[in-house]
């Protein structure tokens, strides 16, 4: 066991120094920073335009509708649209303004047929209505329609307002009913931040698993192809070697995560990003700590389960070129776990998830999802944990056997049968 420490520190120290590690970490840090700045940048760019998008509004035959639209848009805080009035549908003037860029496009209305709201036509140089503009115009048009249709009816202003108000679904869960009663609305808010944690942990699990897993496999293969393995296995037991490597790589992964978290935190701490964070209504103080703890436990255990497999596969392959193909099944497995979790985010209590949370390779993410967003009891979490630990013990044992055999086999990648034969021959 006292040999484990040199292996861990050697693996760690040498990986940290490699160019590939430094480069990927820096690139990811830059991407993260850019990602966090996106909302702010959007604000910055749209703010520069000052008055926002200029749109022509043809009063023509429907002056009332046009007026109510303009009034509605003006009332909206931070409206990004300003209207330019055109009394009549003067084709020539509109086309001219479109050409020289005074307006981006123009709205005009068709004839009203009975009580029907007249057809709305948007003309622009571009062939389709862009998404942000549509989302800004839609409520204005809805509002105008409401007023147009209800005009002259017996409905009061309040009734109209009540009709147009959107329906709010407040989510409450029975096991959280107590909390819900104490402070209405608080349960849904906790869920949001917890969803974010679950989501973040799943992505983290997937990413670090892939990256460090591949690093472990590549490391083992390169030791084998550089033949230093022959010296290593005469110095340390393969089990110590394998776990030293896995732990060393785990520390690498951890370091990377810490760097990323620090980058995110530093970016979020910038004053101008605070505002955009507040918009998401994320309150870290409402975070459920038990989710984080359970998530981290499963994250670490899940990592070990996959890492042993990656090490075993790495030991079978003699050349780095063959590694990608050999690693494929494990990659598929972790992809499956990732997608099961991702597609079930909205339905955390489905039967699929219940089954998956007891299958070792997918359980780390699925049980977390069930606990964080669904209704899994601690007992179920414990059971899943036990199965996972049992699986780790079994696969470590198997991987150590494969590792022991694999590192002595050179040449082409052995089939399962050849591997078993070699194990027998080596008496492992």
């Amino acid at each position: 066991m006292n040999k484990l420490l040199p292996i861990i520190s050697f693996t760690f120290a040498n990986k940290v120094k490699t160019k590939s590690f430094v480069v990927t970490t820096v690139i990811f840090a830059i991407l993260l920073s850019i990602g966090i700045h996106v909302p702010y940048l959007i604000q910055l760019f749209s703010g520069n335009e000052g008055t926002g998008t200029q749109i022509g509004l043809v009063y023509g035959n429907q002056p009332e509708i046009a007026e109510s639209i303009e009034a509605f848009v003006d009332q909206q805080p931070g409206a990004k649209i300003t209207f330019v009035r055109y009394e009549q549908a003067n084709e020539q003037a509109l086309v001219n303004d479109l050409e020289n860029g005074t307006i981006q496009g123009y709205l005009e209305f068709g004839e009203a047929v009975g009580l029907q709201f007249p057809k709305v036509i948007y003309t622009s140089k571009k062939d389709s209505l862009d998404w942000t503009l549509q989302s800004a115009l839609q409520p204005a048009l809805e509002n105008a329609k409401m007023q147009y249709v209800t005009k002259g009816s017996a409905l009061t202003e309040e009734q109209i307002a009540a009709i147009s108000a959107p329906v709010v679904i407040e989510e409450l869960k029975t096991d959280q009913a107590g909390a819900g009663a104490a402070g209405p609305g608080s349960s849904t808010k906790t869920a949001i931040i917890n969803y974010v944690i679950v989501y973040a942990l799943i992505i983290l699990f997937f990413m670090t698993n892939m990256m460090t897993g591949n690093m472990i496999a590549a490391e083992v293969t390169s030791e084998k192809s550089s033949r230093i393995m022959e010296i290593l296995i005469t110095s340390v037991s393969p089990l110590a070697q394998m776990f030293g490597k896995i732990l060393g790589m785990f520390l690498i992964g951890l370091l990377q995560i810490i760097i990323f978290i620090a980058v995110v935190a530093a970016n979020l701490a910038l004053p101008y990003n605070q505002a955009s964070l507040a918009e998401f209504e994320l309150d870290l103080s409402q975070m459920d700590l038990s989710i984080l703890i359970i998530g981290l436990i499963f994250y670490i255990l899940g990592y070990f389960l996959y890492a042993t497999l990656y090490a075993a596969v790495g030991s079978i392959v003699s050349r780095t070129e063959d590694l990608g193909q050999a690693v494929m099944p494990i990659t598929m497995l972790s992809l499956a776990a990732f997608y099961v979790a991702m597609f079930s985010l909205s339905s955390p209590n489905s039967l699929l998830l219940k089954v998956c949370s007891y299958i070792p390779f997918v359980s780390p993410v699925t049980i977390l999802l069930r606990y964080g967003a669904g209704d899994a009891a601690l007992l179920e979490v414990g059971l899943s944990l036990l199965i996972l630990i049992a699986a780790i013990v079994f696969f470590s044992w198997l991987a150590a056997k494969i590792y022991r055999t694999g590192v002595l086999l050179y040449g082409k990648r052995p089939t399962l049968k050849e591997l078993r034969k070699a194990m027998k021959a080596y008496k492992i």
Partner: protein, 301 residues
């Protein structure tokens, strides 16, 4: 006194193929034991079994009278035939790491490494990466990696292959030095002249079987002396008439004569003394190379 390394009837099979068939040998303290054989004769498998990498199917291996245990890893050094080190890592980093894996402390390892670099007159390699070194120098580093932790039992698989003559001499001297310090060395090679110079006892393997074993001098005595080297100032005539002479080759300064029986040598000398002045006369003992080819070549048929 218990011998550091004893192999008793060790057998290893891979599937239907027998890789090593009942090999027995003993290595004394401070002895270099030669393990010879052609390609695929079972040398590497034997060495791997000694190292505890694979277990023998039959027979046993004793280290100082004990069976294999993981503590032995610290006492053994191994220079594999296809040696390698981490190409992108500094010499000091990886050799100290390997020494620590063998149970040395970092300071001891550093001291030992510096001693060896000094010994090979390349102290400036301490901070170099392996990939920056020439192939021969990489091999020297590999050798250092095998001996840095002062092993009691050293296993050298083709230690001198790919080295220039200067470095071969340097390494040979080092191996002898280790032997004189009491290290037991199991040494495999194709190069007979190295064996003749370094080893006192040898085993020749051929297709997983032991074909020849024992002290080199004893082995040589078993083989008839068949060649006479004769240097004279003038010409010697009538040599071919001597009974037992098979062939005469004219050389720059004399003759190389193949004989079928040793007694013919005396007649040759007498004849030469009658005709001319003898400068040099030698009944050559068979080289190990000749013995090897004779043994291994014959059983090839």
């Amino acid at each position: 006194m218990v011998k550091p390394l004893v192999l008793e009837q060790v057998t290893k099979q891979f599937g239907d193929k027998t890789a090593v068939n009942g090999i027995s040998l003993q290595v004394e303290e401070g002895e270099i034991y030669g393990l010879l054989g052609g390609n695929g004769a079972g040398k590497t498998t034997t060495m791997r079994m000694v190292l505890g990498l694979i277990y023998p199917d039959d027979g046993r291996i004793l280290y100082h009278g004990q069976g294999y245990s993981s503590e032995l890893q610290q006492k053994m050094g191994y220079l594999p035939e296809e040696r390698g080190l981490y190409p992108k890592i500094k010499v000091s980093d990886q050799i100290i790491y390997l020494a620590r894996l063998k149970g040395m402390s970092a300071q001891e390892a550093d001291k030992s490494l510096r001693y060896w670099l000094e010994r090979f007159e390349v102290p400036d390699y301490y901070n170099k990466k392996i990939e920056e070194l020439s192939k021969g120098n990489q091999q020297k580093m590999g050798f250092i990696a095998a001996v840095v932790h002062k092993p009691k039992i050293l296993i050298l698989d083709e230690a001198f292959s790919g080295l220039d003559p200067v470095n071969v001499e340097l390494l040979k001297a080092t191996v002898k030095e280790l032997r004189d310090e009491g290290t037991s060395i199991l040494f495999s090679t194709h190069r007979m002249e190295h064996v003749e110079e370094l080893c006192s006892n040898i085993t020749i393997l051929q297709r997983s079987n032991t074909v020849l074993q024992g002290n080199i001098q004893d082995i040589k005595k078993r083989y008839p002396r068949e060649e006479v080297l004769l240097h004279t100032t003038g010409e010697v005539t009538g040599l071919e008439a001597i009974p037992g002479v098979e062939r005469i080759d004219r050389r720059e300064r004399g003759y190389s004569i193949r004989i079928s029986e040793v007694s013919a040598a005396q007649h040759i000398l007498r004849r030469a003394m009658e005709d001319s002045v003898v400068e040099h006369f030698e009944i050559k003992e068979p080289t190990l190379n000749q013995i090897f080819i004779k043994e291994v070549g014959e059983s090839h048929e």
